[in-house]
Symmetry: C2
Subunit: 492 residues, 2 copies
């Protein structure tokens, strides 16, 4: 067996064992009784150590070196490139630092769960400064090995190929038009009279409706399922996707669109190319591209009038035919724009402002230009500038609202807005190819969009770089204009 094939075996072994980790982790969030958490955490920690050992085995380095001089075809070369990337990412940081950061992150996150409701920034800062210190160390090591700036070396973990240079350009563009666009939309929406749907909406009915919509969106129930968790996610493995949602009996609106969102993630995973399953090249391209699939489903399609028309009958069948379920009212509900403190509750227009603010802060934190204690002041300044909101003293709804920084996941935030931009660019391409796509969607036929996604995104997995992927799919590199146009068209 040549070295490339031996590497395939090693990676498939890691994938197979990872399967158990993914299902057990899903179980922990959906099924596990509370009293079992201690034993489960121990088991998962043991498993993490094992997986780390397997994926940093020095034998892999030798195989990678040997394979690089073997006679490989183009896809094998791409596959080898991703194996190397995956190995390098696992081995570049010394194990002691990985452990120390994981420990400090767990401690900070655990305490944060109580500190946030208490608005206790001071105590939070104690733990958080340690997390930041270790994250800077990590960034510095990655930086010197990868030849990137410290912050870029973290971004690269989630969005390979993305840099501060490109992000600065993107967000400086956004900063130019977003605040005034938000103002105009809010002004315009003042005249819209919304009839609020009144519950209770039984969990049973919501579940039935959700399943119907998932089926319409092509979720493969023979290789996946949907359950309930307090924080919705899409987990499991491509061969067995475990999606979750949550139900609020006083509000069906969020749960339904949550299901549409997660189904986007799910279909990407379920339609990754079978011949590369188990290999790094067969996994989703990046966090930004993953988010582009959920946002293609939720924002480009889901909240648009054509899609809402296509599921209107199902909504009426579930909840009745009264005033608040008229299609115009539903469209208004699903397109309401309102600046708010909380990112996860934000609409698609104000969302980029939340991300931009976090990007600017975490970039400066990691690059040593900002200290943790100064975050609230900068946060408040930027919230005033971008969304016109005053957050002084309100840490709970300010810098303490997200989980990402508590465990040191710096570099992740940009993925959300990159995802929104990729999604807009992808949908615009579909619209260009199929000028009648919105009509088809309104009639419940989503096949034009899905066939395009399957061929251009899902089946490509990580065989291309993100830039190549998006160029091949849409004809050009990432271009924020598409998101801007989409927002103006839908909301102005």
């Amino acid at each position: 067996m040549n070295s490339y094939n031996e590497l395939k075996k090693v990676n498939e072994k890691i994938h197979n064992l990872g399967h158990l980790g993914a299902i057990t982790s899903w179980d922990q969030q959906t099924m596990m009784p509370s009293g079992s958490n201690e034993a489960r955490s121990k088991a998962m920690a043991e498993f993490t150590v094992l997986m780390h050992q397997l994926s940093t085995d020095p034998k892999i380095a030798d195989l990678l070196a040997e394979a690089s001089s073997e006679d490989l075809n183009e896809t094998e070369k791409a596959s080898l490139r991703e194996m190397k990337r995956s190995y390098d990412l696992s081995t570049v940081v010394p194990e002691d630092l990985v452990k120390a950061k994981s420990l400090a992150g767990s401690k900070c996150e655990h305490a944060w769960r109580e500190q946030r409701p208490n608005n206790d920034w001071k105590e939070f800062l104690n733990n958080f400064e340690e997390v930041l210190k270790l994250s800077r160390e990590e960034a510095s090591i990655r930086s010197s090995k990868l030849g990137l700036t410290p912050y870029d070396s973290l971004v690269d973990l989630y969005e390979p190929g993305m840099t501060t240079e490109k992000l600065d350009k993107i967000f400086s563009d956004v900063r130019g038009w977003l605040p005034s666009l938000i103002e105009s939309i809010v002004e315009k929406q003042k005249s819209i009279n919304i009839f609020e749907p009144k519950g209770p909406f039984s969990v049973e009915k919501q579940k039935e409706l959700g399943l119907k919509v998932m089926a319409k969106l092509g979720f493969d129930f023979t290789r996946g399922r949907v359950d309930i968790s307090s924080h919705p996610f899409c987990g499991g493995v491509p061969e067995d996707i475990r999606m979750t949602t949550r139900y609020d009996e006083s509000d069906f609106v969020q749960s339904l669109m949550g299901i549409v969102h997660e189904t986007g993630h799910a279909r990407y995973e379920q339609n990754l190319p079978k011949e590369f399953l188990g290999l790094p090249a067969g996994t989703a391209r990046s966090m930004g591209i993953h988010e582009s699939q959920s946002l293609f489903f939720e924002m480009q399609m889901g909240r648009g009038r054509p899609f809402l028309e296509s599921i209107h009958k199902d909504i009426i069948a579930a909840f009745g035919d009264s005033e608040e379920f008229k299609i115009d009212n539903l469209v208004s509900i699903y397109n309401r724009v309102e600046p708010g403190f909380i990112r996860v509750d934000a609409d698609e227009v104000t969302y980029p402002a939340h991300v931009m603010l976090r990007y600017e802060i975490e970039r400066d934190l990691i690059n040593g230009k900002l200290e943790a204690r100064d975050i609230p002041e900068v946060w408040d300044e930027k919230m005033k500038m971008y969304l016109g909101l005053d957050t002084r003293g309100n840490y709970r709804q300010g810098a303490m609202q997200d989980i990402h920084w508590t465990d040191g996941s710096f570099g992740y935030f940009p993925s959300y807005t990159l995802g929104a931009m990729y999604a807009a660019q992808q949908f615009a391409t579909v619209e260009k190819l199929h000028p009648n796509v919105n009509e088809s969607i309104a009639n419940g036929d989503y096949s034009q969009a899905f066939s395009w996604l399957r061929e251009n995104i899902w089946q490509k997995a990580s065989l291309l770089s993100t830039d190549e992927l998006i160029k091949k799919a849409t004809g050009e590199s990432l271009n924020p204009e598409f998101l801007k146009k989409h927002l103006m068209k839908r909301y102005l």
Copy 2:
């Protein structure tokens, strides 16, 4: 760190990783969508290889040798003994044979699922002869290493310390009284007029009733749960027990008693001593002792009048107060005795006949005194003798009914009847200690029985040999008289 403590670490690691295997295996039987089976089977196979490597690491042999000369207290010595037993059991058979047998077993079991409904003994025999051949090889290797007869070396896997000599004695005793006892009981029950409960009994109501009964029986829902599977089992890990049941809307009787049965297994696991969790000495003693707990719950308590009185109100609350739910009628239903072809459907009186027959056949198969092709003839002879039933040509309800032999689990069957005997002996001890125990049970207070089980069985785990355990708990070694007395008292 001394070698004993190092062994503890190794075993705890195996336990922690085993946690993921247990939960994923539970998921496969309860939650997993059908299309994911191929990927899951691959993942589980990879995991099995890994676990086998970890538990047969030659380093363990060195540590075991070193630890045996260390200064250990009595429980540490017992713990070390079980570590050694566990290691020996894993390493005694060459890996090639383990793999070949596992392969042949999977093949035979898989084909059997179609061959059984088709009554296709001839085709089954083809696969089964290979399984038997490899099982004989395994038995021969174990036999020479353990100094036991071939069959005894397999029994020892499930019931350490049990031998053909003891089993022959036990079953020759049973053979003496069981057939005539069955005849008398069947004759006596002819005069009982049973009102059959008519469904449908909604799954919702059955579930509610089942949960209520589990709670009364002390199941700890903070460290376990109950779900649905086509074959009920009790899985998971002691820290997170996953029990299953199945519901039949036309019959609540079986599901309810199935829950009582599995709760017996579950409480044993949930009450193993915490200080030995993760070590072989902290696991359940044997299959026979495990079965004694489910049968203590189901047979000694569950189907007895006092227990049925204690849950009578709950049954009425669930299904109404009509004729068929009168207590006398329920007692008659739960104590019906009827010779039948199928072991898993058998009542507690005819059950030992099924086991005896299998014991005699598998003992002779493994010891080379009987060939696979001759099973149906012997089966028919014995079924006539023990239960008066003719099975000629009826392989489906004859030798092809059980899964055990298809994958080579020879030596397991005796555990069922040993369990029934241990249970009768245990309950008789509780009755002697607490002459009012049946009155207490009727009043819904099961604490006398459970306190005794906790102290004498559950908390002892594998710290004693089975014989020591049962002697300490009941004052004497296993004595089949207790089961005989129990059956005569309840049914004559």
